[in-house]
Amino acid sequence: MSEGSILKSQDDVVLSVEHVKKKIGRKWIIHDVTFDVREGEVFGFLGPNGAGKTTTIRMLVDLIKPTSGTIRVCGYDVNKNQEQALRFVGSIVENPEAYTYLTGWENLEHFARMQRGIDRQRIQEVVDIVRLDQRIHDKVSTYSLGMRQRLGIAQALLGRPKLLILDEPTNGLDPKGIKELRQFIRQLADEGLAVFVSSHLLSEIQLLCDRVAIISKGRVLAVGPVEELVSENAQYVIWDLSSVGEGRSILSRQAGVEVITDAEEVLDDAIIAGMGQEAIVTRMDEQHVASIVRQLVSAGIEVKGVHKINPTLEQLFLKMTEGESID
């Protein structure tokens, strides 16, 4: 990274969290959290339940005051100057709540009155963006969870925010809805919005985010581009061979190849379920695959399949937290 680009990225910072700590009662819930979110990126906030994700998010939107540290949105201190800072923030904290005895439209009108410069036209715009125009004049009590989620996003976008905060946004959505949401968030980021997404689902962060902060027990363990964090870990290759015993001995003789015996510990359940009983799991660099295939074939072993598996954030996480479970 050149010096110029560092300076530029500093200018782009929409949300900056510096050494934030929070004590509730006598217990420190958040020990030390520091990270920046920049314009046009999707930033993941990953951690198991109870790690302090929601507490941190509540501090970002001034529902909770930090015990120490500062949170700035577009240069304004959220906890001291909330009228300025929160103008730039749209959020859904935990569930997308709405007044169920009002219609979707009345809910949006309600929130529009709490901010300057939002007219009918803007309300109609966000309704169109989340494609809720069919049911917008129905009572929210008749909405499905997916529709409430969309209404929540509509109210978050209402004030033309620069920062969108979504707490576990895919909770309760079906696979189709999750896919749609992912595309939608990407589109918003491409338009220049900074999107902050929390999740305990690692695959989701991997699919959605540009950068990620990993939090556990109230501490940020790592912040960085998702790909960079992933490539620090070696890749896995799954071999499906006609002769398991011979194949295994050839594989284990190769330099830079490690045969994994306890696959359950390093791979996602979904991958384990998808691979054959006889499959051999190795940790290796993918550039050796071609030469190993040639060796296997010349030794008379049929290669029925070779799969590359990117390490998941789960493994990354397990490595960093030394085995604290993610649930």
Binding site: I24, R58, V61, D62, L63, I64, K65, Q82, E83, Q84, A85, L86, R87, V89, S91, V93, E94, N95, E97, A98, Y99, T100, Y101, L102, E106, H110, F111, R113, M114, Q115, R116, Q155, G159
Partner: protein, 329 residues
């Protein structure tokens, strides 16, 4: 910076759409006919007894009360009440004014007397107890407080909405009561003179300041006092609603306080410092009609000051807590 008007509009809409105010009106429309019917039956009975002569009826009341004064079984405190009551009745008799003349306005006046300390505050509580805790129960408080609006403004808009609905409830009570009871007793009675200004000194009534006012004026004074009482109770319920997360809990707390007040009023005359509790100071209309206060040393000014202090403290606590507190769920 956002000004308060749109925020107050929001709160007003929410109370209407949540059907809280309709419930209040419905309660009035259901209960007032019941009271009217009960009043009608008792009016019929006395008319039969005294053949329509109200002077006989008042004379009978005076005689009954005088007789009970000589009884040893009647406690001294009750005797004090009755002596004063007799003096007042005599005053009405001397001035040829029927204190019990049945008509819509008189019924409304009596209804306000009876509902000022419990019934009207209860109606206001139906709105006040839910106004903050309702947002917490539904989780919408998070949406409300993550707007670029200072917290005190959010709370102030709720308080203003409460004051408006409080006024509306008192007015609605008077109008609905008058309309419904008038259908039975007639809509006349605005100009009937009502005596006020009785000053109670020990067991004697000081009549020097007594003067007659037209009944409509008396009714206005009552409504003003009822407005103030229900406002103070409403503000206290508002505070409890800020402090407690569930609406049910905040209603129970306030109900308990009000009922404790009506029990104390009946038995606390020996416990002098109880007069500083807000709930024994709610029967403000008694000062107009000259009914002795439950505890010595209480007067209209005293009660107004006590209620004001309680109300101001409740508002201060509400704002302190609401603007400082972490919203954890």
């Amino acid at each position: 910076m956002i000004n308060l008007l749109p925020l107050v509009k929001n709160e007003t809409i929410k109370i209407i759409k949540k059907k809280r105010f309709y419930v209040v009106l419905l309660i009035l429309v259901v209960l007032v006919p019941m009271f009217t019917y009960a009043q009608m039956r008792s009016a019929e009975r006395t008319r039969d007894k005294f053949h329509g002569d109200w002077r006989l009826e008042v004379q009978q009341q005076i005689t009954d009360n005088e007789n009970s004064l000589s009884s040893d079984r009647v406690p001294d405190e009750w005797k004090k009440f009755r002596k004063i009551f007799i003096q007042q009745l005599q005053y009405y008799l001397d001035h040829d004014v029927n204190p019990n003349e049945p008509n819509g306005v008189t019924f409304t006046r009596e209804f306000l007397d009876n509902s000022i300390s419990l019934f009207i505050p209860l109606l206001v509580m139906a709105i006040a107890s839910d106004i903050v805790s309702g947002e917490r129960t539904s989780g919408t408080i998070k949406m409300l407080l993550t707007r670029p609006v200072k917290r005190w403004k959010v709370l102030l808009s709720k308080l203003i909405a409460l004051v408006m609905y409080n006024s509306l409830i008192v007015v609605a009570t008077v109008i609905i009561t008058y309309l419904i009871s008038g259908a039975v007793f007639g809509y006349k009675g605005f100009t009937i003179p009502v005596f006020t200004g009785f000053l109670i000194r020990g067991s004697e009534v000081d009549m020097s300041a007594v003067h007659a006012v037209p009944q409509w004026e008396y009714l206005l004074m009552q409504a003003g006092l009822a407005w103030f009482v229900s406002l103070v109770v409403g503000v206290l319920a508002f505070m409890v609603s800020v402090l407690v997360r569930s609406t049910a809990a905040s209603i129970v707390v306030m109900m308990a306080a009000l009922i404790a007040g009506s029990i104390l009023t009946n038995m606390a005359s020996a416990w002098n410092s109880a007069k500083y509790l807000f709930m024994v100071n709610l029967q403000l209309t008694n000062y107009l009609s000259g009914t002795p206060a439950p505890i010595e040393g209480m007067s209209l000014t005293f009660s107004l000051i006590v209620l004001t202090v309680w109300g101001a403290a409740a508002i201060a606590i509400s704002f302190l807590v609401f603007t400082k507190r972490d919203i954890l769920n």
